[in-house]
């Protein structure tokens, strides 16, 4: 290496970052433009159409309130979302807690099991629940064994809920586990030494410390559940439909983009509201990222 190269390099490394930083900034342009055109614009467009089709005004929204069905379905959708989130939490909390307590090998196995829904294609999963929940399916048979006949979940909100809980479990378990892992287990010992029985140590120390993870997992599951179309369409029934089915029907059968847009906007507002409330307590985006990257 020549002497001039050596003396020149510090200068170039000192100057490079700045110009390169600006250059690197352009890298985000294609994706940004892509999403603006093919995601943000369509979304804005359908909201716009909800106020303009068939005529300008709030007609689509007042219609929702008046038709007597939409509000009922909306409430059912929200309640289903809450139930799914609550059931998922009830199963995921002990599961995630157990993950923090077992040996690393058992933990790896539990992680693989919890990721199964991610690895099982959506249609395969729904088809499997279809088989399990049908008349004389495995669930019906199992309940018959203990003397309860006719447990046919297929075609009911319960059937939809069970299938959704399964898909949503990873989204709850992973944030919970990562939150719980950050809790110092010695705190429970400390509480014990200070006179708290195990259950009270759990309630007063562990539970409050895991609450942020609970909150973000719960919200994430609730929000994602609101948008589910395939599961209710296949496992639910038209008599007990949820908002996504209603939206799909409006669009594909009636080409009523205005009405569908209004329903979609309501769903969107509920989502944003939930996000806003929760974001005051926890950082949801990091939770989402953790769930997505399986950490």
């Amino acid at each position: 290496m020549s002497a001039s190269t050596v003396s020149a390099s510090p200068v170039s490394t000192a100057r490079a970052p700045r110009s390169r930083r600006r250059l690197v900034g352009w890298f985000i342009l294609p994706a940004t433009a892509f999403l603006l055109v093919f995601f943000a614009y369509p979304l804005g467009n359908i909201i716009w159409r909800s106020f303009t089709e068939p005529s300008t005004g709030l007609e689509n929204y007042t219609e929702l309130l008046k038709d007597g069905v939409s509000v009922k379905i909306l409430v059912r959708t929200l309640v289903t979302g809450l139930i799914v989130a609550a059931c998922t939490l009830a199963l995921a909390y002990p599961y995630a807690y157990a993950m923090t307590r077992v040996s690393p090998r058992a933990r790896n196995l539990m992680t693989v099991v919890v990721l199964l829904p991610f690895w099982t294609s959506m249609m395969a999963r729904n088809f499997a629940w279809y088989m399990l929940e049908q008349r004389d399916g495995l669930i019906d048979d199992a309940f018959s064994l203990i003397g309860i006949d006719g447990v046919v979940l297929l075609g009911s909100v319960a059937g939809v809920t069970v299938a959704m809980v399964q898909v949503m479990l990873p989204f709850m378990v992973l944030p919970l586990y990562s939150g719980m892992e950050g809790i110092d287990k010695r705190l429970l010992n400390a509480a014990g030494s200070l006179g708290a029985p195990r259950w009270r140590a759990f309630v007063q120390v562990y539970l409050p410390l895991s609450l942020p993870a609970v909150l973000s997992g719960f919200t994430l599951v609730f929000i994602l559940t609101l948008g589910f179309y395939v599961t209710p369409a296949l496992l639910g029934s038209p008599q007990q439909s949820l908002i996504p089915q209603l939206i799909a029907t409006r669009v594909s059968d009636l080409l009523d983009f205005g009405g569908a847009g209004a329903l979609g906007s309501v769903l969107l507002v509920v989502t944003l509201l939930a996000l806003f409330v929760v974001s005051r307590f926890v950082n949801l985006s990091s939770t989402t990222e953790k769930a997505v990257t399986h950490e």
């Binding site: 599961y95 294609s121 979609g264």
Partner: protein, 288 residues
């Protein structure tokens, strides 16, 4: 959450090694209680049940969805691989998924690189935009895209599918690649520069090999996402372009044909396989 770590002074004495699995540091000794074990078993059952049912079902000899099957055969695999409709759906799905994976990896990779390296105003807004398709209810995204694609005549076209799926796959790709990039030690660039490497050489010989596993994960995610996606595909489908998941959907709602069991099993195996490749490569690399 582990704030204690920051309070540890530099002079700190290392904690006692594993010789003493000291309970003052870890939890109580002993396993899980039976109550906890029961809930874990129940949860595992819910998680495993679908997969555990689909694969045996595909080897059924009967023509109904009765489970467990009375006799066994490969007839549904035969039916799958000899049916022109199923094979066309499979081919369509794989082709689209490859295109989506390439598009999403290029767009998402560049975006992740830009977000990681560049500091500029509005960075947070752009991150939110990228993550938004995950948060907006998926049915709303599907219907919105369908709405404009009808006007742009993109429904029933390959490019329409690729665009629709790429929108949804981007959050996954960007997140996976950002995670990978944030683990990248930037001083390596500086080190390479002091050793006489040009920025291009540094990028090609240092940066690319180190972030390759992240890129592969992103690619695999996008591929699997598109292969599996059904809501957007349902809206954009046409008699000419029907993806495998749409064909499966129709098979459940219209035909009730156990060939779907074979298709499902193949999907499970394919998905797992594709998602495992990056993991496998990463492990091999770290043991080397």
């Amino acid at each position: 959450m582990s704030k204690e770590a920051t309070a540890t002074e530099p002079d700190a004495v290392p904690a006692e090694p594993a010789v003493e699995p000291a309970a003052l540091r870890a939890g109580k000794d002993g396993g899980l209680g039976w109550g906890l074990k029961t809930v874990v078993a129940l949860t595992s059952l819910v998680l495993i049940a679908p997969t555990a049912v689909v694969i045996p079902m595909s080897f059924s000899g009967g023509t109904t969805f009765a489970f467990p099957p009375k006799d066994w055969s490969l007839r549904w695999y035969e039916s799958f691989f000899t049916s022109e409709a199923w094979m066309r759906a499979l081919l369509t799905s794989v082709q689209l998924a490859l295109l989506v994976a390439v598009t999403a990896t290029v767009l998402g990779g560049a975006a992740a690189f830009g977000l990681n390296r560049a500091g500029f105003p509005g960075r947070g807004a752009i991150r939110s935009l990228v993550m938004a398709p995950l948060i907006v209810p998926s049915i709303v995204v599907a219907v919105s895209i369908y709405g404009v694609f009808l006007r742009w005549h993109l429904t029933g076209t390959p490019i329409g599918f690729v665009i629709g799926h790429t929108v949804m796959a981007l959050p996954f790709v960007v997140t996976v690649m950002l995670t990978s990039l944030s683990g990248y030690d930037r001083t390596l660039d500086t080190a390479a520069a002091t050793l006489g490497a040009t920025p291009l050489t540094t990028f090609l010989r240092i940066t690319v090999p180190l972030i390759a596993p992240g890129v592969m994960s992103g690619f695999a995610f996008a591929f699997v996402y598109s292969l599996d996606e059904v809501v957007i595909a349902l809206f954009l489908q046409s008699p000419d372009i029907t993806t495998l998941p749409v064909k499966m959907y129709n098979s459940i709602t219209l035909e009730i044909d156990p060939t779907i069991a074979a298709a499902s099993s193949l999907m499970v195996v394919a998905t797992s396989f594709v998602l495992l490749i990056p993991q496998f490569v990463r492990r091999k690399r770290s043991t080397r």
